[in-house]
């Protein structure tokens, strides 16, 4: 068996010893191909934060699977973490592919990137069922309210009254993927903004630490088709209407917990891997561990034209889908023959029964 080696891209020789993370990798090791998205596209900023988060958390890139559908957003996995296996599937049906991939190898970390069209329009069916199952993965919706790749038609997350450059006004209510996700069974749900580096990075790191479905709806302006006056998904609109419900802090498991916090105003969530997420409440009466309250907060914010961001809901107790399936510890895909093919005696017994 012979294959043709492909030379790996030569890495620049750093003059000073390069900065590395806890597993000895440089940020370079988390980079991807050059983006082909528009300059200024929110999606590019999200890719950057993903690189930072996985680098800072020290996740081995080979242990990550990237999954996406179709759209500008869904292209972005090509632009970060080239050392991770990646699967750019079909429009709106990434959740099933991700579910299958995780069943094939449930020891991997799965990171999915989708668009609002990909998830809320064509993909809402698979979205709903993925959330219901609490499949352990990070699901990012790069949400710009339009179909970027097909040139700017409204998607199902477009707000009522939002206006296209052509003057067309959206008159259908938006689908709030966060509220849906909480309601349906996802165990870590939040919203962020591609322009909010700090919040997004903290949420991504916490997401990496979580075991269950993480749904992050990240408002990510489309500079080409939906960043003008009248759009409710523009940089400007977000700057004016972004209302953080909590301040997200994150202390990874490999770091000493030194930061003080006030248990009166801050909720400390111990994550699956031993990390801690600190949610400092910015809204009164808000409790991110209370499903019903969390949904109510969303509904009220909608009514007030606020765009809530932050972690809305977190549940670290609910077992994930692959846990509920009670799988063996090793990946199903690479179990040796003798663990997946019963012995001769079993066939014998079956044949006897059937005689």
């Amino acid at each position: 068996m012979a294959t043709n080696p492909v030379p790996s891209a030569p890495l620049e020789a750093p003059r000073t010893p390069a900065k590395t993370n806890r597993i000895g990798l440089q940020v370079l090791d988390y980079r991807g191909g050059k983006t082909t998205l528009c300059a200024g596209c929110g999606h590019n900023a999200i890719s950057e934060r993903i690189i930072d988060a996985f680098y800072e958390m020290g996740v081995q890139p080979e242990r990550v699977m990237k999954l996406s559908g179709i759209g500008c957003s869904s292209k972005s996995p090509a632009y970060f973490m080239s050392r991770s296996h990646s699967f750019n599937s079909v429009h709106g049906r990434m959740p099933s592919v991700a579910t299958g991939a995780l069943l094939g190898n449930h020891t991997m970390k799965a990171l999915a990137v989708s668009g609002d069209g990909d998830s809320a329009s064509i993909g809402i069916g698979q979205f709903v069922h993925l959330m219901r199952r609490n499949v352990p993965m990070i699901y990012i919706i790069e949400d710009n309210g339009v179909y970027g790749l097909t040139k700017g038609q409204f998607s199902a997350t477009a707000d009522i009254g939002s206006k296209l450059k052509t003057g067309v006004i959206n008159d259908l209510p938006p689908i709030d993927t966060c509220t849906l996700a909480i309601q349906l069974g996802a165990t870590f749900v939040g919203r962020s903004f591609s322009g909010d580096k700090k919040q997004l990075l903290a949420m991504l790191k916490a997401a990496i630490a979580h075991n269950g479905t993480v749904l992050l709806d990240v408002i990510s302006p489309c500079v080409t088709f939906n960043d003008h006056e009248g759009s409710t998904k523009s940089y400007k609109y977000m700057q004016e209407h972004d209302e953080a419900i909590d301040e997200v802090g994150f202390v990874p498991f490999f770091q000493e917990i030194d930061v003080e916090y006030d248990p009166g105003t801050t909720i400390n969530v111990q994550m699956h891997d031993g990390s801690h997420m600190r949610l400092r409440k910015l809204h009164e009466d808000f409790d991110p561990t209370d499903r019903v309250a969390s949904i109510a907060a969303q509904l009220h914010a909608h009514a007030n034209n606020e765009v809530l961001t932050g972690v809305f809901y977190i549940n670290t107790q609910q077992p994930s889908f692959t846990e509920m399936l009670n799988l063996v510890d090793e990946p199903l895909g690479t179990l040796p023959d003798d663990r997946v093919r019963p012995g001769r005696a079993v066939l014998e017994e079956m044949m006897q029964r059937l005689m």
Binding site: V340, R341, P342
Partner: protein, 623 residues
């Protein structure tokens, strides 16, 4: 028409088998081990157990037997027919003529008896008085309710127990071996001794009533033989599930649909029994999907991640899988899809048979796609081809479709016992971290070996050069995005080459006979049974010897071309309207061989019978 005319609708369903039969039974003194029994009943009435006991009793007497359930697409209350064919010659296809009717459904009983050939026999509820309609049929009226009440004090159970009465009546009339009947019955109710006793009492009551009241005036008898020793009885879906278990399938995502559901349901039972470790942990994941798009999406995702994955579906599910099937072809993802075919188009007749998805599966999805199909022709092949399918999916890195059908999948068939697989699982070309270190990397879609098949890595392979980017958009050898015309052509031509490779890897055809006759027959799947019987009819009745080849896979291997080339006329026998297999052959053959092809089609939803083939062929041959 403004109202769903109930009368009309009912009669439409009642008279499903009402066409008076033209093939008359020539009266003879006795007909031994060569006739068919039809039990006409309503679904939900619990007659399955009785029918199964009858079938298995005959089997235990050593007589080749087969059973077919003709049921409506609803849950309870509509006419259902179960047909048992005993055949000393081992014919297991549907027999057009019904020899013995057990008429348990008052709504259809008149039409049922009218459809019998002269000289047949009928067992029926006394009060139905079917004798008035036929004086050329042997009539055995039975007071079912009275007999049932006598043996079954509990009124609630009578509806079920009543069915066992006819087993007894039939056993007496056919002179069955009552030991075999009792053994079959006791096996049927294995762990439920009380139920077994009650039912056995009912059988005896029927037997005794018949003995006391009837004078046999039909020719049908069952006599012990030695032709079923060591054989098993199983349906195709159970066999395919078993094959999947032994193929080491680990991921199943499915959406229920008749007639495929029982394949997965069998797999679930088997997996729970044989694939859970002592620690309670499973070496499998089975997930009921939200629909067929999700099912195939997960199958391909799992295949990509390295798992042996499968789904089972039928026509409507196949249509919904079209987009993903194209992704599987183009991004080269392994996965197994069982298509247990039923009558289309659209919802069609969900509980009727057809071999109607060949063309759509062969070219499933837009663009230049082609798929590999395996076509089992027996329950044993359901088992074996399930294993082949998983091997081929990984060898060829493409979705493999196993084209079964309702007749094969849901009916009980006799078979030699299945053999334990001797070869290890063939996991195809997968590079490990060590391979990568040795090779210094790889190019996912490069045709290194000239067979069109590249090498792949699995997610999680611990090597910085292991990852590649899988996509349904344009990609070059290195799996990089490309819109270059030459990259595209290069890749598509390699895929064609891979498809050519498949020709020799898929199950080769079975040549039953070749070189003796100028006339060849080609059949496949469940058309095989009737074709074999028809060949005997042709020989016996018309002195016409025929050669015969059974196709077992698409793409077609050279042997199929050769067979066609070496015959003057080749009849392609299939169960669909549009001659779909003949079409696929036509596309694959040179014109000089196409001229040889003739078509015999049967597509009314009932399993194919030998007489239909014989009649059609004889007429086309002008004999």
């Amino acid at each position: 028409m403004a109202t769903e005319d109930v009368a009309l609708a009912a009669s439409a369903e009642q008279s499903i088998l009402s066409k008076p039969d033209t093939h008359h039974q020539t009266p003879q003194s006795t007909i031994v081990n060569d006739f068919s029994i039809q039990i006409a009943t309503v679904n939900g009435s619990g007659s399955q157990s009785a029918n199964s006991v009858l079938l298995r009793s005959i089997f235990r007497m050593g007589i080749p037997v087969s059973g077919k359930n003709l049921f409506p697409s609803n849950i309870a209350g509509l006419p259902t027919w179960y047909t048992i064919r005993a055949s000393k010659d081992g014919y297991v296809a549907r027999k057009k003529e019904i020899d013995i009717l057990i008429a348990m459904n008052p709504e259809t009983s008149k039409e049922d008896i009218l459809s019998l050939p002269v000289g047949a026999a009928a067992i029926y509820e006394e009060s139905a008085d079917l004798k008035q309609f036929r004086d050329d049929v042997a009539c055995y009226p039975v007071p079912f309710d009275k007999l049932t009440a006598a043996v079954c004090p509990e009124a609630k159970l009578r509806k079920l127990v009543k069915n066992m009465i006819y087993v007894g009546v039939a056993a007496q009339l056919l002179q069955m071996d009552m030991q075999a009947v009792e053994a079959a019955l006791r096996k049927q109710f294995a762990k439920k001794v009380k139920a077994a006793d009650l039912n056995w009492a009912a059988v005896q009551a029927g037997y005794e009533y018949a003995a006391a009241n009837f004078t046999k005036n039909d020719p049908f008898l069952l006599q012990p033989m030695n032709a079923t020793e060591g054989k098993i009885i199983i349906d195709g879906n159970a066999a395919a599930a078993l094959g999947s278990i032994f193929a080491g399938c680990t991921v199943v995502m499915w959406y229920p649909i008749t007639p495929s559901s029982s394949l997965v349901e069998n797999f679930i039972d088997l997996a729970k029994r044989y694939r859970i470790g002592p620690d309670g942990k499973a070496t499998f994941a089975i997930v009921q999907a939200e629909d067929e798009l999700a099912a195939i999406g997960a199958v391909l995702g799992a295949g990509w991640a390295g798992a042996r994955s499968m789904t089972a579906t039928s026509g409507p599910g196949i249509s919904l899988m079209a987009e993903f099937a194209g992704l599987g072809y183009y991004a080269e993802l392994p996965g197994v899809i069982f298509d247990v075919q039923r009558t289309g188009p659209s919802t069609g007749m969900p509980t009727r048979n057809q071999q109607g998805d060949l063309l759509s599966v062969a070219y499933l999805s837009h663009g230049d796609t082609k798929h590999v199909m395996l076509i089992p022709g027996s329950v044993r092949e359901c088992y074996e081809m399930a294993m082949d399918a998983f091997d081929l999916a990984e060898q060829l890195q493409t979705p493999i479709f196993v084209m079964s059908d309702l007749d094969l999948g849901m009916n009980n068939w006799m078979s030699e016992p299945f053999a334990y697989p001797e070869k290890p699982l063939n996991r195809g070309k997968v590079l490990s971290a060590e391979d990568l270190t040795r090779l210094g990397g790889f190019a996912r879609y490069k045709d290194v070996d000239g067979d069109g098949i590249g090498y792949r890595t699995l997610p999680g392979t611990d090597h910085p050069l292991a990852a590649y980017f899988t996509r349904g958009s344009g990609h070059n050898e290195k799996a990089l995005y490309t819109e270059r015309p030459d990259d595209y052509v290069h890749n598509m031509e390699r895929l064609s080459r891979k498809f050519e490779t498949a020709r020799s890897l898929v199950p080769q055809p079975e040549v039953v006979q070749s070189g003796k006759s100028r006339i060849g027959l080609i059949a496949f799947g469940t058309s095989d049974f009737a074709t074999r019987e028809s060949r005997d009819q042709l020989l016996k009745e018309f002195k016409l010897d025929t050669d015969y080849l059974r196709i077992r896979a698409f793409p077609f291997s050279r042997e199929i071309h050769d067979f066609i080339a070496s015959h003057d006329r080749v009849y392609v026998i299939e169960q669909n309207r549009d001659a779909q297999m003949l079409s696929l052959l036509k596309l694959d053959l040179d014109a000089k061989d196409i001229v040889r092809l003739r078509s015999i089609r049967h597509f009314n939803g009932l399993p194919l019978d030998a007489r239909t083939i014989t009649d059609d062929l004889v007429s086309q041959e002008g004999i």
